[in-house]
């Protein structure tokens, strides 16, 4: 049941919003979390994509591992369709956002937000990206206690090695890079991913001759089946909080509900921020208006404090559509880790020699479990995908046309560009002998890049977000350097063919559109609206160096929760 007023409203139950909600609720405040998408694995919504279900959930008893098993099928196409940013109703398509060229934005709607798709990767920012690049008003050291707290909640540990990680580590070592064993990374090198996924049961070792079921309680922790991009319910049969992947719906949402101070209201799209403005003074946030995505009904709720955590696209969109005070940096400075894909293909005999079997089998192990860090440049990570997602991420899009139109000449890759037709079928016939490396560059915030709204092009929630992104020359050079390193690592690991996508800008990591120091102050309260805070990746002052942003976003959201209590309660 949603009340008329709360101490705090958090707009968005994605990766970060539940962290702030948890902090506020632990301090004894009443908190309403409004989420545009559905609530999976909750007994109030047994068929969240088919029926409106209940109104809100306020009890950890509502959470059900069995329902999560049923709803998270791990079938890639179905789960992409269910989770990508759109209304819960399966008969209705995605919410439309404009993105330049043939790139795309990959975000999810639902409690857990894009951590429903994320692969559990939880590294910290590169210290230099915060202390040396000149974007941040706070220091890396300010984040350290919050990193530790988040890492404990998310059970962050070194990712396990299966065949594909061993292949990558052999390549990186042979290419002359060092193994990094640190949490605070200042030099280039490779390491296992710090993953927010419970480590696998030791009985799953290749030498242990395990022939039992891969379900709970026979297996506890990760079961080493690919599936994080598709939600990941493993191990099946486990209670909700014993699921291996510590996405925010499994880590922070139960912790928040357990305080008995939090109500989560899914299927609620916030369309306005309510304010009061004493004459000649700064506006003060007093509540929000939201629309039920099933019924279309509109409600208003009041609060002492409003926290925007709708993500780096929707938070500025909401600001702009709510007609809050103009600020030159609202929506601006977008970073997306301007990325690319470099794929290696192996001959069976070479694999036999390197990893002791003729296939890589990217469907085994965690999706992303090995990485290469390069502070100042970005990162690389191995990516295991099922073939459908692999095809669209690795081969379906390119900024340089089709592979048959390009002659890479002396480039370190054999082919470059989009693949289709017979070329695609021939290549994907070797799906079990390929390994993809995702290039993630440390792109920098530029004011021209960001989110605006299109007056006149509105959906049911107002003018739609229009996203602009054009990398700088420096961004391109960083990405090219990483692609060359990736190709070198793959060659050193024995790949017989290397393909580079030259991907168009695609937003998998989305940040820095409401930057700390520009739109919000050091406590993440808006300069131009009192009692309005932002607690999502949009407040990151840059792209944290190219490291996966979830840990930093959550650490900052935890810090913001504490600051809100100190300032206003």
């Amino acid at each position: 049941m949603v009340e008329d007023s709360y101490d705090a409203i958090v707009v968005g139950a994605g990766g970060d919003g539940p962290v702030t909600a948890w902090k506020l609720a632990e301090a004894g405040l009443s908190v309403l979390v409004l989420e545009a998408g559905p609530f999976h694995g909750n007994e109030q919504w047994p068929n969240p994509h088919e029926e409106p279900g209940g109104e809100a959930s306020s009890s950890v008893e509502d959470l059900s591992g069995d329902l999560l098993d049923e709803q998270f099928t791990t079938r890639e196409f179905e789960m992409i369709t269910n989770l990508v940013f759109g209304p819960a109703d399966h008969e209705r398509g995605f919410w439309f956002r404009k993105f330049p060229g043939d790139g795309a934005i990959l975000q999810c709607a639902g409690v857990g937000g894009t951590t429903l798709h994320y692969t559990g990767c939880h590294p910290r920012a590169y210290p230099a990206s915060i202390d040396e690049q000149g974007h941040w008003p706070i220091e890396y050291a300010d984040l350290l206690p919050y990193y530790r707290e988040v890492e404990e909640m998310c059970e962050v540990t070194p990712a396990p090695v299966t065949a594909k990680e061993e292949l990558f580590f052999r390549g990186a070592e042979a290419a002359g890079w060092d193994l990094i064993e640190d949490l605070n990374v200042t030099e280039p090198g490779y390491r296992p991913q710090p993953n927010a996924i419970k480590q696998p049961d030791g009985k799953l070792h290749v030498d242990a001759d395990y022939d039992g079921d891969f379900t709970y309680p026979d297996v506890e922790g990760d079961s080493l089946a690919l599936g994080n991009i598709a939600g990941n319910p493993h191990p099946r049969g486990a209670p909700f909080e014993e699921k291996a992947k510590r996405a925010s719906n499994v880590s922070f949402v139960p912790a928040a509900l357990r305080t008995d101070n939090v109500t989560v209201r899914p299927n609620a799209f916030v369309t306005d921020v309510l304010t009061e403005t004493p004459r000649g003074d700064t506006p003060t946030a007093t509540g929000v208006e939201f629309r039920d995505t099933w019924s279309g009904s509109v409600e208003r709720v009041e609060a002492e404090v409003v926290v925007l955590a709708a993500g780096a696209i929707e938070t500025p969109r909401l600001w702009l559509n709510a007609d809050l005070p103009a600020n030159d940096w609202v929506g601006r400075g977008l970073t997306i880790h301007f990325g690319d894909n470099v794929m290696g293909l192996w001959d069976p005999d070479d694999l036999e020699e390197t990893i002791g079997k003729p296939t890589v089998d990217q469907h085994e192990g965690q999706d992303i479990a090995a990485r290469f860090d390069y502070p100042g440049v970005g990162m690389l990570q191995t990516v295991g995908t099922a073939p459908g997602i692999g095809a669209i991420l690795g081969f379906g899009a390119s900024a340089s046309g089709f592979a048959f139109q390009n002659d890479p000449a002396d480039a370190p890759w054999d082919t470059m560009g989009r693949l289709a037709g017979g070329d695609l079928k021939r290549l994907l016939s070797d799906h079990r002998r390929m390994l993809q490396i995702l290039v993630v560059s440390d792109d920098r915030p530029h004011q021209r890049n960001g989110v605006t709204v299109a007056p006149g092009v509105a959906d049911e929630h107002g003018p739609i977000p229009v996203v602009n992104y054009e990398p700088s020359e420096g961004d391109r050079r960083r990405r090219d350097e990483l692609a060359r390193i990736a190709a070198d690592v793959l060659r050193e690991a024995g790949a017989s063919h290397v393909h580079r996508s030259d991907s168009p800008p695609t937003a998998l990591h989305v940040h820095s559109t409401m930057r700390m120091g520009k739109v919000v102050d050091e406590a993440c309260e808006a300069y131009d609206v009192d009692r309005l805070f932002v607690a999502d990746h949009s407040v990151l002052a840059n792209g944290v160096g190219g490291a996966n942003p979830t840990n930093t976003g959550q650490a900052l959201a935890a810090r913001t929760g504490e600051r809100i209590v100190e300032r206003h309660f």
Binding site: E78, F96, P158, P194, P200, A391, K425
Partner: protein
């Protein structure tokens, strides 16, 4: 300039098609049957992106011959793009989804004409080639002939070249002079290549009916039940694998622990060990940081 002319044409087409569809949906409450031009164009897309490849039989095996048309990829692609995006606007029908298969087909024809105008096609367009794409359930060739657009007449490679032309629509956005379609030509390429590939290589073909609600869909999860899985060797979705090799670490470092399972490099002592250690909470010093690449302002 070609681009702006295409923009204009596309915008006009979009508006007329969208409003026609909107009216039909509004008055009839349902959408009409698939337009013959859209049908043959989408068959041409599926045939170019995932073609039938007899040449692969000898090289890779007979299971690699069949393409997208054999599993009606074109039909599902039309359904998918028509149901895939929504604005929630009443004139677009009860679900508010925005049907875009017809405009996509017209955009591709425009791209094909541009390719031909530039003389960048490698083979001559052919009506017979387009008609040969028709399936047994399609209307006769005589009835379809008038519905065949320039895109479907191109050779497979030339169809891909035409799609690549759409990537030139890198139109700059101006907040005061927006035009939805003008901004979205790149999306067409993404939908007809990227999404088509994702659908084909995913589990999609194994469902009895994907348009059913999620709780009523059945999927056999049998590697033999999906044509593309037979071609990629994907074994289907599993609950787990006994695939653990251990944890990477050095002899004297904190990351890996226990016996070495294998050695990555003897000189550096990097090995895969049986047990996990943990990352080190290290002191850090960024004082010597230098930008590896120049950073521009802006």
């Amino acid at each position: 300039m070609v681009t702006s002319r295409i923009d204009e044409w596309v915008t006009t087409t979009w508006r007329s098609v969208a409003s026609t569809w909107g009216l039909l949906l509004e008055f009839a409450g349902i959408g009409p049957d698939v337009d013959p031009h859209t049908r043959v164009t989408f068959r041409a897309i599926a045939d170019a992106v995932v073609p039938e490849t007899p040449a692969l039989a000898e090289e890779l095996g007979p299971e690699h011959v069949a393409g997208g048309l054999a599993v009606d990829l074109d039909e599902f692609a039309i359904t998918y793009v028509d149901d895939g995006f929504q604005f929630g606007l009443p004139h677009l029908g009860p679900q508010g989804n925005m049907p875009i298969a017809d405009p996509i087909a017209h955009v591709l024809d425009t791209a094909a004409l541009t390719l031909l105008e530039r003389g960048d096609n490698e083979e001559e367009p052919s009506l017979d080639r387009a008609l040969s794409l028709l399936g047994p359930d399609d209307p006769s060739a005589a009835k379809t002939e008038s519905a065949v657009g320039p895109f479907a007449k191109l050779s497979r490679r030339d169809r891909l070249r035409a799609i690549a032309i759409l990537d030139e629509f890198e139109v700059e956005f101006s907040p005061t002079d927006h035009d939805l379609l003008e901004l979205d030509a790149g999306l067409v390429g993404q939908l007809v290549v990227g999404f088509m590939e994702m659908i084909y290589y995913s589990e999609w073909q194994g469902y009895d009916d994907f348009t059913e609600p999620p709780s009523r869909r059945n999927h056999p999860n049998d590697p033999d039940a999906v044509q593309s899985w037979r071609q990629t060797g994907f074994p289907g979705f599993a609950n787990g694998y006994a695939a653990l090799r251990g944890y990477v670490g050095t002899d004297d470092g904190p990351l890996g622990d226990g016996d070495a399972w294998t050695t990555i490099d003897e000189t550096t002592g990097v090995r895969i060990r049986r047990e996990s250690g943990s990352f080190r909470e290290n002191d850090y010093d960024t004082g010597g940081y230098e930008e590896p690449f120049p950073v521009e302002s802006g």
